[in-house]
Symmetry: C2
Subunit: 225 residues, 2 copies
DNA sequence: CACGATGGCAACCCTGCGTTGCCATCTTGA
DNA sequence: TCAAGATGGCAACGCAGGGTTGCCATCGTG
């Protein structure tokens, strides 16, 4: 924790002109460290001390800027996904290709570490804190994603009445489940997309079609509460 | 923590004839409490103190029997899934019906709490400790599950060469992702099964068929390491 | 009824989150 | 130039939870 900041004299002043003021530098270093730690350890294993240590910054400083782990990671996600927010979704004229491209980009934006960090978050979506962070970063573009599917219906690639949100949920679930751990490759991604599309073509996702319950307990959760 | 055990006199001796010796009773109470806690809080939020408190037993006693949280939950899972291990997988003559039944049973064995606890575990599969516990409890029956699919191929329900393991992985991923939080109902379960089967019928899961990479980086993970 | 097995209790160590008080350094503007 | 306010470092703290330990109470069986 005795990096070029603080009581050391010299380097901070020297690099100042190029890299911005002391504060800006601390923020950059902290966020960079946080990405690495998130990618390494996921959300549950995320250690504030480790971030401080890696950033060469004191823990107190981190807490002064972001009052909690959730706040730090929220900020982090917002920053690292900025480039993604600005680029439009693909429109190749083929739904399969569109989806493969769109989902691929979920993990390959920015530098390597950013994709991996994002994948770890998606993996821990069952944690309410994590879900809040993801929702905060992602919910806005739901309509655009649906549009990809709607266009496919208009082109005749998918049957009319196909439930776009359902189709996307299915693919997203399959893709996100392998977002980290090196198990998400183009093979699995393509497979998931093609299989769900093939199912949709066969009409399994047409809205309103009666989903006959094979188990004999229709419309009820499999668990009580 | 001052339940009917320990220094209290009377009730322990009175109930002894019916419910077994002191040790057995402690084990039963501890495991019962652990199921409830696991169902409530999941693996990450699982508190040993809470188990002890709910069981009316001292924390020390828990640790004397199971040296760690992982050990306790491993034992718990082994006990609660015993009935499931003993019943054969369905064989209705229709792959869709077989899969819906088989996956439904994953969450409806035993009493309500047990299914919920199991679902929480599946949800946290990304945690290596949890993955080890699940693998320990489940891996043995992989071949029987595959057989369900193989029989469907023999019946002509699915194209020859269909990759049984892949098909099961896809369905399992979709089902497990909704195992808890009340979002796994028969609707989603049936939808997942039917869609994946429809995809498989269209040949997307035939082994060896070239999985053309749409992203231009075939056979490589989307992330570095 | 004596003795070994089992359990209760309280205190302890360790790690990690989040906080606090005090001091050093940096920056800025008069 | 220099004084004051902003920013950061440091060490110690309170708190919670996992896991451990020493000692004592109780149980239950020979």
């Amino acid at each position: 924790m005795s990096g070029p900041m603080g009581r050391s004299t010299g380097s901070a002043r020297r690099t100042q002109g190029i890299l911005g003021g002391r504060s800006e530098q601390v923020v950059r270093r902290a966020l960079d460290a946080a990405v690495v730690e998130l990618a390494r350890s996921g959300y549950a294993g995320f250690r504030m001390d480790a971030v401080a240590s890696r950033a060469g910054v004191n823990k107190t400083t981190i807490y002064r800027r972001w009052p909690s782990r959730a706040a730090l990671i929220t900020a982090l996600v917002s920053v690292m996904r900025t480039p993604l927010r600005e680029s439009p979704l693909p429109n190749t004229g083929q739904i399969e290709s569109d989806l493969v491209h769109a989902f691929t980009r979920r993990f390959t934006f920015g530098r390597k570490m950013e994709g991996r960090a994002w994948a770890r978050l998606l993996e821990e979506r069952h944690n309410p804190e994590v879900e809040a962070i993801i929702a905060d970063a992602v919910d806005e573009r739901r309509d655009e994603w649906r549009l990809m599917v709607t266009r496919a219906i208009d082109r005749g690639e998918l049957p009319p009445g196909t439930d776009a949100q359902l189709l996307l949920d299915l693919v997203r679930t399959l893709v996100d489940s392998r977002g980290s751990s090196g198990r998400l490759d183009t093979i699995w991604l393509t497979l998931a997309v093609r299989t769900v599309i093939a199912g949709a073509r066969a009409g399994t996702l047409v809205r309103g079609r009666k989903t006959r319950s094979v188990t004999g307990q229709p419309r009820h959760s499999l668990r009580g509460a």
